[in-house]
């Protein structure tokens, strides 16, 4: 379980402080896969950084029981001057995982070939996403924080990543940010909508999607 107690988070923008979470208390349970919705700039990425522990809240506490992944997205987590292989090694070392096992899985899964020996700065964003997703699937996290990177690339790769994720979700949970309603419906049991500093949970993902769409239309 990831429990949030009176968590408050805001950050400064050009037009004053933007509140991401206003004194929020609640929990992400480990048997539930949660789809997170919110318009661009609502703070979904910041929420993930808070949940992972990469960033501290302004006030309040976040209690994590179990291992939480870093926010898996198109950026962050890799050092640009290091090669893919060196980045894999770095991540294995900090998480105390076997480099050889993870590497063989990632090479096979991400299928980016000789790019493994090139600096990450030469990668396309899709390749970075494949690498990040591959590494995280090789490590055993109890919670995966995934920001849009489940299904990138061609149809065959999409299928492969969905299969691997489904396998993982037998023992782990996912918190998924996605603009794809179909993907959310496929993997998530419940939904949360982040809107104007409030995070509201809904018992089904369909309901969350409906609320989110209503919010979108209201702001337009």
């Amino acid at each position: 379980m990831i429990r949030l107690e009176n968590v408050h988070k805001s950050y400064p923008t050009k037009s004053g402080r933007k509140v991401i979470l206003r004194e929020f208390s609640g929990a992400f349970e480990n048997s539930r896969n949660v789809g997170i919705l919110g318009h661009n700039g609502a703070g979904k990425s910041t929420l993930f950084r808070l949940l992972s522990g990469a960033e501290a809240p302004d006030r309040g506490r976040i209690i994590r029981e179990g291992r939480v992944s870093w926010p898996l997205g198109f950026s962050g987590g890799f050092h640009n001057s290091l090669t893919g292989r060196e980045n894999v090694r770095f991540i294995c070392q900090i998480y105390g995982a076997s480099y050889r096992e993870v590497l063989s899985f990632v090479e096979d899964f991400a299928a980016i070939g000789r790019f493994m020996d090139m600096p990450v700065k030469s990668y396309s964003s899709g390749m970075k996403a494949r690498l990040a997703f591959g590494i995280s699937m090789a490590l055993n996290f109890d919670y995966y924080l995934i920001d849009e990177v489940v299904a990138v690339g061609d149809a065959a790769f999409k299928k492969k990543s969905k299969t691997v994720l489904s396998e993982r979700l037998k023992s782990s949970s996912v918190l998924l940010v996605s603009h794809s309603a179909q993907l959310l419906k496929e993997f998530c049991d419940v939904g949360g909508v982040l809107h104007n500093g409030e995070l509201v949970f809904y018992p089904t993902i369909d309901e969350a999607i409906a609320v989110h769409e209503a919010n979108q239309n209201a702001t337009i």
Partner: protein, 257 residues
């Protein structure tokens, strides 16, 4: 608790490895450069001396007088400069929750301190081999002096790392003052023989005290301009100020946005 400590040690280990891989880009030329740089200074110094034809500022071996000071200064200053850029250079890795600003800074201190210690030892041994002179008269003075230089580099470097992140253009400022500081560290001249007005200014440069401390471990009869207390207090104040800033501005330092 034990778990947290082992995660922290693993992280620092991984960061040290990463620093060594990228210290000078992908050509891995950096380690050779660390040796070439002092050699270039020596060549320039020897060239100027043969041109001017002056005698050694102190003792018989001018090269020793100069080299020891240069290595001490470069050790300390390199740690400051490298550590100062630690957070910016590792921003993407701070997205990984186990990686904390403190680890990133510490890893750079360790790598730079080890690099320059090895370079310094190599040069002292090299000089010993070439000239046949055992350079160090009082290892019991030299060693604490060199450790004080490392301590100054680490503490000031930690503070600079915080300031670089919090104050715009602070890295430019550091780049600007590092040469004057080198000139004011008594590397090329005998500090005690300087005019009092000049001495009154350079006395406040902590690097001068580190250089003089190490030098007084090399020559038996050396008269240094040295306040060990000033050096150690200066470094300790930097360390505490750095820790304070790290605590106060934790959110701004951690934030990757």
């Amino acid at each position: 608790m034990v778990n947290a400590l082992s995660t922290c040690l693993r992280t620092i280990g991984a960061l040290c490895r990463r620093e060594m891989l990228t210290r000078f880009g992908k050509y891995r030329f950096g380690y050779i450069w660390a040796f070439i740089e002092p050699v270039l200074y020596i060549v320039a110094f020897a060239g100027v001396r043969s041109f001017v034809g002056s005698s050694s500022p102190f003792g018989e071996n001018a090269l020793l007088f100069f080299l020891i000071a240069l290595l001490t200064f470069r050790t300390s200053m390199s740690i400051v400069r490298r550590t100062g850029g630690a957070i910016d250079a590792n921003m993407p890795l701070l997205a990984l929750p186990p990686v904390k600003t403190f680890d990133v800074v510490l890893a750079r201190i360790v790598v730079e301190a080890v690099t320059w210690s090895v370079v310094s030892v190599a040069f002292v041994l090299g000089l010993w081999t070439v000239s046949g002179l055992w350079a160090i008269a009082r290892p019991d003075v030299l060693l604490p002096g060199y450790l004080a230089a490392l301590y100054l580099g680490a503490s000031l470097g930690f503070l600079v790392a915080m300031l670089t992140k919090l104050v715009p253009f602070f890295d430019r400022f550091m780049a600007l003052i590092s040469l004057p500081l080198m000139v004011m560290s008594g590397i090329f001249y005998l500090p005690i023989a300087m005019p009092p007005q000049f001495l009154a200014v350079i006395w406040f440069n902590p690097f001068l005290h580190a250089v003089e401390w190490v030098r007084s471990g090399v020559f038996y009869t050396y008269e240094p301009v040295l306040s060990r207390g000033y050096l150690l207090w200066f470094a300790t104040c930097c360390l505490f100020l750095g820790l304070l800033l790290n605590k106060l501005y934790q959110r701004r330092l951690y934030s990757t946005a």
